[in-house]
Amino acid sequence: MSIEVGHITKTFGTFRALDDVSLTVPTGQLVALLGPSGSGKTTLLRVIAGLEQADAGSGSIHFHDEDMATRPVRHRHVGFVFQHYALFRHMSVFDNVAFGLRVRPRRTRPSRQVISEKVHQLLRLVQLDGLADRYPSQLSGGQRQRVALARALAVEPKVLLLDEPFGALDAKVRKELRTWLRRLHDELHVTSVFVTHDQDEALEVADQVVVMSEGRIEQVGTPDEVFHHPQTEFVMKFLGDVNAFHCRVDSGTVQFGSLELPFPEQRQQIDGDARVFIRPYDVTIDTKTNGLPAVTAEILRVHSAGPVVRVELRTANGQSLIAELSQERFGTMDLQVGKSVFVRPRHIRVFTSS
């Protein structure tokens, strides 16, 4: 079941949460809505679910050619998982999961026996079968979220929507749960959209990443596409650390200190003011010159505790720059604070102000 959203605008008072947003989620995919807080990602999810109404006269929502825009929440058949779980606090785990089946109209409601089997099957799926009689307050955060997921899946939803599902969990549980969610999705293949502000989570779990900012979609693509080929400055800055500089573009090259750097893959090459972005891992440090063009820089700080070594530098023309290199390479060089080194960007991205 695909989701097609067309030209959705949503305002709260004077604040425009969504600004003419269109998006297609293909059948069976797991899509991440990624953006900072206030970017409209949760609002978009809630509009799809029907918990928020898009502004009058704006937009359309279709689940596989079926018009959903005017359909009330309870008839949309979406599974929804909240950041804070929203489990029914006075019901046991079993009753929580069974709720969606028990509220069905009598003629489509399964028998007691069938409900019980289905609930236990779902609890096995989320690895909580022994805890059916517990109450939400007796569970850990990770367990609660898995109950919430089982409850959402019980009604066999057409689409599954997850609002920052791991946002309230601590780092270790979050990592476990997201790999688990990916495996679960590969088993079930239900079209899923999840909201996150954590780029690692989005890049690791999703088939497609939708990067959002200020109520608009900045870029849609596979994790590789958005990470390696960001189309806007925002995407470049949001997905990972960057060094950013102002510069001038002159006949297809940018001036970086004493270096002239070509940028072949750029779409339009307009001469004028521009901004250069360099990922820290795209900066090479050499202790002596090897003939390749490079600028000199002074080492300000070295952080070597971690999988990669981060080096803070200041170039000869006063710009600060961060470089990352492997522990292995760091070991072969004698990098110390105050030392002068040669710095060379291997890969740059330029965004002209147009």
Binding site: P72, R74, R76, F82, A86, F88, R104, G141, A168
Partner: protein, 302 residues
Amino acid sequence: MAGTVVLRQPIATDRRLAATTEPWLLRWLLTGVAMAFLALFLAVPLIAVFVQAFERGVTAYFAAFAEADALAAIRLTLLAAAIAVPCNLVFGLCAAWAIAKFDFIGKNVLITLIDLPFAVSPVISGVVYVLLFGLQGWFGPWLIAHNIQIIFAVPGIVLATMFVTFPFVARELIPLMQAQGSEEEEAALLLGAGGLRMFWHVTLPNVKWGLLYGVILCNARAMGEFGAVSVVSGHIRGKTNTLPLHVEILYNEYNFAAAFAVASLLAMLALLTLCLKTLVEWRSHRAMHEARLLKAPREAES
């Protein structure tokens, strides 16, 4: 390492205690003053009510209730509470629901209006009803023309009781519902539940202890209200006398034993209310606590 920490712990707590608490003499003095005050102003009067009530013996005590006027007063008090409390339960639930779950124009006005009965003297609320429904009141001529009597009759007493006990349920539910938020209701709708089912299976069970707490307080006030009811009642014995008004009449007639016997009934109601209140308070505070825990489980677990 662990050993030293354990060894140091008691010393550290002692030091902290010494630094933040008062000398024992002052502590005992303050506690003693508070206890003496409680005894003098609360316990002694309570005991006095029962001592006075039984002054003429057990038979006289029960004779005070057997009297027709006393029975009528008990009946009227129960009737007023039986109408006012359910009405305010429904109203309180609706108002709390609207205030806690929705944003609308005039919300602050509504919150202020709910508190109005707490802010004005009950006598004034009684007088307002006389002004509206009395013989010379705004609606007086119309009511007379249609042969409806409100003031100096049972409807007036019920209305006055409702007005005075108006805020209890709503006041209790608003903070609880605000703390719980509306995500559980949203989840119920998403799972296919209708509005009514959502209310019965999700909303109501979540607030039941807070609701009960509000109802208990509301009921206690409804049965004990004096000022507002006194103004609209007209003190017709056997007809428009509630229990508190009956106590006053008996007292003014120097029939102290009977007055205190009836008063002891109200005192017992108060004691029962206190017991129930304590029990329910414990449960409703737990509901509030749980609402916070479920919102922020990480802080709660650590």
